[in-house]
Amino acid sequence: MGIRKKASIGLTSAMAVMLLLSACGSNGGNNGNTAASNNTSSSNAGSNAKPVELNWYTIGTPQKDVDKVMEAVSEYTKEKIGATVKMTMIDWGDYNQKMQVLTASGADMDIMFTAAWAFDYVQNARKGAFAPIDDLLTQYGKGITDTLNPAFLNGSKVDGKNYGVPANKELPTSEVWRFNKNILDENKLSITDVRTLESLEPLLKTVKQNNPDVTPLQVDKTFTPYIPYDYLIEKFPLAVKLDDASYKIVNVFETPEMKQALETMHKYYLAGYIPTEAATLESSSDVQATGKWFADKATTQPFADNVWSTSYGYPIVSTPMSDALIYNQSVMGSMQAISANSKHKEKAMEFLNLLNTDPVLRNMVDSGIEGTHYKVTDGDYMENLPESKNYDMPTFSLGNIMITHLNPGDPADKWEQFKKYNDAGKPAALLGFNFDPTKVSNEIAAVQNAKESFWAPLMTGTVDPEKYLPQAIKKLNDAGLGKIMAEAQTQLDAWKASQGK
């Protein structure tokens, strides 16, 4: 009796565990299985079977009506290419981390947003997150290659292969000085002669005298003075001079241009032109809201002055401080990649092709359902309806912007102007070269920490370069910058040879 009881209790508790295990296991397992079998059946059965569902992950604050709009989109794409679309939006600040987890865990995704600044394109292409799309492009992406300026695809090659479809948008990057026009007019100042950092001085001086409550040069911790160099990695002190035919990688802190810029910044700082706390100021949004600033540095694009003026609520004018050049950063500003784990790579490319060429689809994805979220007013122009608050998408992140409707107030030749601007852009030195940091990742970690300890104070002019620049250079070298530089030079030389430069 006693033994039987023992055994039965042992059994029941063991069974309880098993039950629990199997319940959990089968639950997850089933989901996996059905998903897998769905996938195989659909891809095997060909085009006339059940349409393929594409899982699309993109960046932006999740919108309430995404599912509703995607239903309409799916209706359209089902007929065109035999695929439906399910879009998942992940908020700006969560995107990097969430996508990293999803990719590393081999989640079921087909298309995903990537860029130089979000879910790092080059880094993740190297890690195998994306499928190479060169063949897919020639087979299914004819429309994409036709519409895009070739610099986009050439510039976004990683180790010779393309891994993402860049959105057709502004191509070159050009830095400008922006001015608060009210204060400019008040002091009767002219910006025609302004270009270099030094040329700003007389203007700043006047403003400082006449408007004591205004910040003459608004600078925050993200500021870096413009120097004619092409950075190897964004905000990392290695760069190549723009017109240097020998492609020699240098430490920017050892260049005469940077030294001069930092000295000028420090002079301005001492003169009180720059906010006292620039080195720890996270953003300029406070002064932008109040309008108590005179000049700052920004990246422009066609009609940027208008956009700025409307968003701040007071007039802004700008003048260039650099030529419009095509950097790696600029071609990788917004891209859609196909997941290496996708089971529908061809369909995904067909969809991306349609998205970048078909105005009906593109506008639906961008603005929602016509008549619900927006209405077409006149020709290419559209107007948002009240419902658009439930479907407010970041246009630049969803493919070709040059086939989207015009907003009220846009010039009729907006997209022609964009094309003109793009065609005028010249490639920067390192366009198409992407440094592979794998071999020196230890040094990179150390240099990053060393660099960040003085970067913002130096760049914002908060500290005296006379004293701190040598210290900074020493710190970088101690952390192993030399080794990174040598490795980068080897890679760059090999790339240069392969490009026939």
Partner: protein, 304 residues
Amino acid sequence: MASLRKTKDFHRLTPAWNVIFNLIAGLFALACVFPFLLVMVISFTDEKTLALDGYSLFPKKWSTDAYSYLFKAGDQLLRSYGVTILVTVVGTVISLIFISLFAYAISRKGFKYRKFFSFLAFFTMLFNGGLVPTYIVTTKLLGLGNSLWALILPLAVNAFYIMIMRTFFSTMIPDAIIESGKIDGAGEFGIFFRLIVPLALPGLATIALFNVLGYWNDWFNALLYIENPDLVPLQSMLMRIENSMQFILANSNNASLGTSVLQSMPQDTSRMAMVVLATGPIVLAYPFFQRYFVQGLTVGAVKE
């Protein structure tokens, strides 16, 4: 009743020390409340005034714009409240049962495997598998992705609370009570629920409180597991906005982000209003738990 009064009397401090203790506790409490007060004032400050003058307890211009901005989203906010409350209540109950049973068992000196199970729990406090493996177990093996269980189960057990609870059980509960229960012929579960739980109320209330706070403040699990906007809890909504704000500011030299997107982000005041909305209810619920701390004295009296 008379003995109770007497108990209280000898437990009194001298008036002078009482004043000093009040001052210490009062000043510290004030220092803790002050920023929160500031949050409330900021949430009612006019946005432009805030940008111009910075934080102030007496803003020049008041405004309720921040709240109307948040209530514009309407049902989303209510739904998030619902999710948070549901997750917190269900989670705390489950968690309390799991933790107290485990902690009680390993607090029992007669339990042969107490060392093994103590170590089993303790070890998880130090070592964890990291994000990706946890994500895979939760979504693929357990199939919890995009469900409320993904918000409840990952927080259900916590070795830290187990260790605290174990200490409560082993120091506050005399062995004699368990023995007397056994003599009365009660089973282990009977002893636990009828004799131990009433005595361990202050400890249980502490763990319950920690659990409530943990569930209420959790946003990370939602970030990992929840994609359906209907299942997003309150804190997660708040943290999404804060994280996104930080991300966009850090990338504000990107023209597209810096202008168009930044403009549509909620302003400072709205984020403070979110803090008020997300914290308000739990602060109001706090006195409920306090009963067990401050009135613990009467529990002690009953024990006699």
